[in-house]
Symmetry: C2
Subunit: 223 residues, 2 copies
């Protein structure tokens, strides 16, 4: 089936339901981690750790959870094509906004603690991702929302839009997991302590969310 014909509502498959399940489980574990094991979340706090905790929460909520919902919008939003496109666009926009606040929180934390910015692989790909994400969003806006783009141009660029978008989505998963990995190593948690297990399971659910979103979207194109 031509990718161009992938444009009308398709019922959510079982894989989509799994994606929602993994996404919600990851969100719950993230909240338990930050609110129960850590000091809570507050961007305007006096305590640097509360400022830092905004970072993982918003990066996950925006760049992964909402981003995944945006990718699945063509399956989950029961409305016509135009509404689905608007949902796809707006969910991605919300993801970018949350991502910005999340990145700001990390920089603010470094400033408070007099730590250097941008020294890890995690931070490098993080910045690369937000730039690519915004670029992809702007190109998508011009290509698929503005009325003057020719239908052939749209169709010709759709494989790039889809593959590029998927690559960026997987990059956000990589960024999240390397970030959690860095955190768990820096905190020097005891092996198999409650918190260490919780973060490992959080990482696993984030990965499963990413994979099930990808498969759910990919299978829809063959359905």
């Amino acid at each position: 089936m031509d990718p161009v014909t992938y444009q009308y509502y398709r019922p959510a498959s079982r894989i989509t339901i799994f994606a929602h399940l993994f996404g919600l489980l990851a969100l719950i574990l993230m909240l338990v981690w930050l609110l129960h094991y850590r000091e809570g979340v507050n961007l305007f706090s006096y305590y640097p750790n509360q400022i830092f905790n905004v970072h993982p929460l918003l990066m996950f909520l925006g760049m992964i959870f909402l981003s995944g919902q945006a990718l699945m919008a063509y399956k989950t939003v029961r409305a016509d094509r135009k509404v689905q496109k608007a949902a796809h666009l707006l969910l991605h926009l919300a993801a970018i906004c949350l991502g910005f606040v999340g990145i700001h929180a990390a920089f603010k934390y470094h400033d408070r603690r007099n730590l250097r910015h941008m020294y890890s692989f995690h931070s490098w790909i993080g910045i690369a991702i937000i730039c690519l994400y915004i670029l992809q969003w702007l190109v998508g806006l011009c290509m698929y929302m503005l009325p003057y783009t020719r239908k052939e141009t749209r169709a010709m660029n759709l494989p790039w839009h889809i593959s590029g978008g998927r690559a960026i989505f997987y990059m956000t998963i990589v960024a999240a997991l390397t970030g959690l990995m860095q955190k768990i190593t820096l905190m020097q948690l005891q092996l198999f302590s409650g918190e260490s297990l919780l973060i490992n399971f959080l990482a696993i659910f984030i990965l499963l969310f990413g994979i099930s979103v990808d498969i759910s979207v990919a299978l829809a194109r063959y359905a």
Copy 2:
């Protein structure tokens, strides 16, 4: 275009060339890291670190480099369909063999150093990946190499084979990057030291290899 018709030789695109470039760069950086900055590679050595170094080298060479080559075999092997399929199958088999030796090296190192096995997220997804990889290989063998499978069954399962394979491939990228991240944090390298920069660039080239392999294979289906 129906995925089933994606079965004849397609000329390698520019993206495929980028994939080769990133793969080779990652391989070179990996060798410079292990041979110049670290103590070298020897599975039967007296020194535990030389045993450990077999792990990153073979996991990358097998599960990522050869695995990526296997995914691109339908574009890069200039021969008819049967030869391409055989190359796809054998490259994946070679990847599994190298992966086994690589995992053995990590366990042998832990034993020598009296470290606990399997405590990190990296090790958990590593074991999950090798199991899924072998399962995918066996299902692929039965489904697409044995002569008695019906054409409709093959076609119906191809989207699963492709999406599942891609998910596993991205999981190996995640495993590699979390592994490098764990290593760089445990070694407590000075920020922006030569070795720390080298490992960060190694991680970036591994990620770029993964993304360019995915896009190269995905675009071929729309070509």
